[in-house]
Subunit: 245 residues, 2 copies
Amino acid sequence: MVDPRLSIVNKRLGKVENIIAVSSGKGGVGKSLIASTLALILSRMGHRVGLLDLDFTSPSTHVILNIEGLHPEEEEGIIPPEAHGMKYMSITYYTRDEPTPMRGEDMSNAIIELFAITQWGALDFLVIDMPPGIGDATLDMIRLIEKIRFLIVTTPSKLAFETVRKLIRLLKELGIPIIGILENMKMRESDFIRKNAEEHNVPYLGEIHFDTRLEDSIGDVDNLLRTQFAQGVRETASNTPQFKT
Amino acid sequence: MVDPRLSIVNKRLGKVENIIAVSSGKGGVGKSLIASTLALILSRMGHRVGLLDLDFTSPSTHVILNIEGLHPEEEEGIIPPEAHGMKYMSITYYTRDEPTPMRGEDMSNAIIELFAITQWGALDFLVIDMPPGIGDATLDMIRLIEKIRFLIVTTPSKLAFETVRKLIRLLKELGIPIIGILENMKMRESDFIRKNAEEHNVPYLGEIHFDTRLEDSIGDVDNLLRTQFAQGVRETASNTPQFKT
């Protein structure tokens, strides 16, 4: 039997114009910081923005954006709270303070449930902070969300790109659109990622330099938006056609 | 019915003196580099060492150590190949070139299978490069391997330690020994991780400074062992009682 929740997921997302899955091959490349900052910047540009944290391996957008004490409201489904002018939902609303972690199957279930019940309403952009890599959750998203498009974050490291290569291959095989690759935490000149992006026929969206002051901006949205890092994300958003509406 | 493979797992590991799970809260903290380098260093100190890569989210020890063209042999089970003086096994021997990634349940199954069939023989140390965080694979390891002890790798970042906190809580609840916390990729003075380790009553094993030359040593074992990074791992191994036999 087909899960009856599946049919209502895309209905729930019917008024969301753009669904951006911020993804990576491996963890630690700055995916959550880029997802949070991109969502903030799109919102400050005047767009209607939602931010959804699905990175159950290390949920951190609530720490980055200092979102505390907010909770979704129930009203024929779940209404995401507003934070910094965006609609905000996180998998931590379902898993926080669990004594033991969820098994993969339960997590898949929680994700489907979350999409089935959340009322996003009308949005220009829904930015999703994905779990790293291509595990169950990534597969579920691809299966579940018709309009999903991937923004892939990597560092300049060979080890990081090795895993991105697999993600690209999977997305291409499944015919899922890739917005492009954003190179983060760059510390010196190198065209390794740019060349590899070209070889895979995936747009290279730009590079963001390693910003030593970023760590101190975690939890402080105004400071975060003033960092060189945020300036890099802003430039990427400006130069990428998919972020103009 | 109890999985009959479970009973033979600890028999297979009967002659392995020390099982070291190199683990992290999130990805990108240098876990695989530390696991590979620690295994190499213990081996060069004259110990009998095995290295097992279970990080199916981004397997990379074979890239770090430039292990190509080796394959396990079958002989009443699987005999790990020798690489750089160590016995080496990787989950990629089971998953490489799969067109689509394995689901969590299949991965659990592959891990149990791998432990049930691998003949490690007599070892002083089996170093395991764990998947990041506390997903299914971590839970399976804890359930499966009686002698397992955790070495936790983190960066100085608040976001990285937030996830380490959960890992520590889980390990303590389950009574699994923690060797300690190793702080990697340090770029400036900070006692955030040391203080947090003390608060959680977990040994602080030391700090390893960010090494810009490390990236160029990937795939070159002799160069890798000459980096400041490797010197940091060597000092940690020397100063930690659990690495003396």
